[in-house]
Symmetry: C2
Subunit: 360 residues, 2 copies
Amino acid sequence: MAAEPQSPGRRPTLALVGATGAVGTVMLSLLDERPDVWGEIRLVASARSAGKTLKVRGEDVVVRALAPEVFDGVDIAMFDVPDEVSAQWAPVAAERGAIAVDNSGAFRMDADVPLVVPEVNADALADRPRGIISNPNCTTLSMIVAVGALHREFGLESLFATSYQAASGAGQAGIDTLYDQLENVGGRRELGQTAGDVRKTIGEDALGPFPAPLALNVVPWAGSLKDGGWSSEELKIRNESRKILGMPALRVSATCVRVPVVTTHAVAVHARFARPVSAKEARAVLTGAPGVAVLDDPANGQFPTPADVVGTDPTWVGRIRQSPDDPHEVALFVCGDNLRKGAALNTLQIAETLVARGLV
Amino acid sequence: MAAEPQSPGRRPTLALVGATGAVGTVMLSLLDERPDVWGEIRLVASARSAGKTLKVRGEDVVVRALAPEVFDGVDIAMFDVPDEVSAQWAPVAAERGAIAVDNSGAFRMDADVPLVVPEVNADALADRPRGIISNPNCTTLSMIVAVGALHREFGLESLFATSYQAASGAGQAGIDTLYDQLENVGGRRELGQTAGDVRKTIGEDALGPFPAPLALNVVPWAGSLKDGGWSSEELKIRNESRKILGMPALRVSATCVRVPVVTTHAVAVHARFARPVSAKEARAVLTGAPGVAVLDDPANGQFPTPADVVGTDPTWVGRIRQSPDDPHEVALFVCGDNLRKGAALNTLQIAETLVARGLV
């Protein structure tokens, strides 16, 4: 999704709100790596972080405090901040004339805000009544590029998704908690034999952002409790997939589970399509799909794992199988770096696509 | 499933083949804990382990070497040994007049060998033309008691199962490999940022029985490669569920994934039934089902996790939800100790049920 500027004479101004956070840090390295289509790049953060100096494209840039004036003259403002900060400030950026591209959950289900994955529904960028565009949740993003590619070809009918979500999905606190817990339990070979041993060794005070121990464990919970016992993370996969694919009645059922992995979400996908789909056909479509990398040769131990693909851009797909019971059903194992494609990268791709399509 | 002896005057003789292995060790502690219905308990192992002394019901018992004569006078012989050992020796035990209860994969799909989970299909014990009864695979066993209870009430139509399988499913080598890898990567906070870092730190020589690093990772593979890219473990879930439930055409689709947990397999289940099933109805059925423990109050952080339930007997069920898109579909998160109910416990329950029903 590399983009070329539309008018070389005037490169657009980009603001990065939340420049000092975990996703903001990944964004700065992406801005160094990718084709540079930007004029000024303005860094913005909370008053607490204002005044710091960060390197952007090899040059020192001073971080400015979030205020209405920082959006003056900005073409695109990317927000990597908590929901409540986005809810307050993205409309301010839009009022000042910027297009706000928001990575929080504040606007994703707003009917007047497009929810965009450039490989899947870039056309939705054109219609943005509030001047705001939303970036999907990291778990949705870890699989939707692959699912969208198959949908275009075979017509998606229903989707089962169960996640293997990394600790960094809960931010730096999630990463620190996992490492702290691993230091406690890592060498204790007697653990895992009796109920509660891991919990006692870790201690209830050291659970961090997770509702149960994560080291030597998996935790079937992410987000907050919603109607019917569903977690907010599970409903995000359902509702966001429907919106991105433009299928408001799509059947989606998800179970979200946190696993002791630092970075990269994995998702086991079982999808049913209107047409029969062989594994070979699915593999061919995925191999040709933008943003997808296929790694599917289990005879030689080749399939994506989180630790092997972290730090890379594509949505990795392996374990491509046709159901022996239903020729319309395909199973996949998908991995995507939750801090790159799952957050910073998709946000930047949206911004680049706005430029490439002359929508700025 | 505690059993009372049918004829107090003559208690049956039990042989435990594979007494010195990982599952055999769990079996010995189960024999201490559970109501004692046995006369002589004979311990059998390979010639290498013969002559060792182990405690059974508080008394020293000398391990005998596997030979045809050890089965003379035995009523029930439980086998916790590799497939090829069972394939050779279970028929020998049957010839000598014992009922062989086999925990290997050697006979599970043999039409003349019942595959039994006492809470689900104990009636199948009566018809055993070869004198052999099979114990299901540990992953099937981790979920089938819960699924079977719902099936009896609501009529199962299709099943999606994705696993979070513990390292001990690959035996002691699996446990050792996970701990060794955790010692290498546990404190290295820089890991997880770049593709391949975890693999490089662990080293290709230290993968043990797994095809990729398991520490700080998940591995979407268990077993051997079968037709269509399916793993043997995934097909076992399908084929064994069909046989245990007596539904040869049941639609089952599974993805099996190894996670860095020592013991207890977890399975995310999405099941469709002939009748609509509310979460409340499913919860009521599961709460009353033998061998099932319900732990389902996410508002208070209550759901089963592997580390919290290891070492316990029941199949633990939480996260019980009705699909918002299909009232016939229920989602569950299930945990079962793969060394107890998933192996030793179910084998012993089969033996106890044979006694209780007067089938010995």
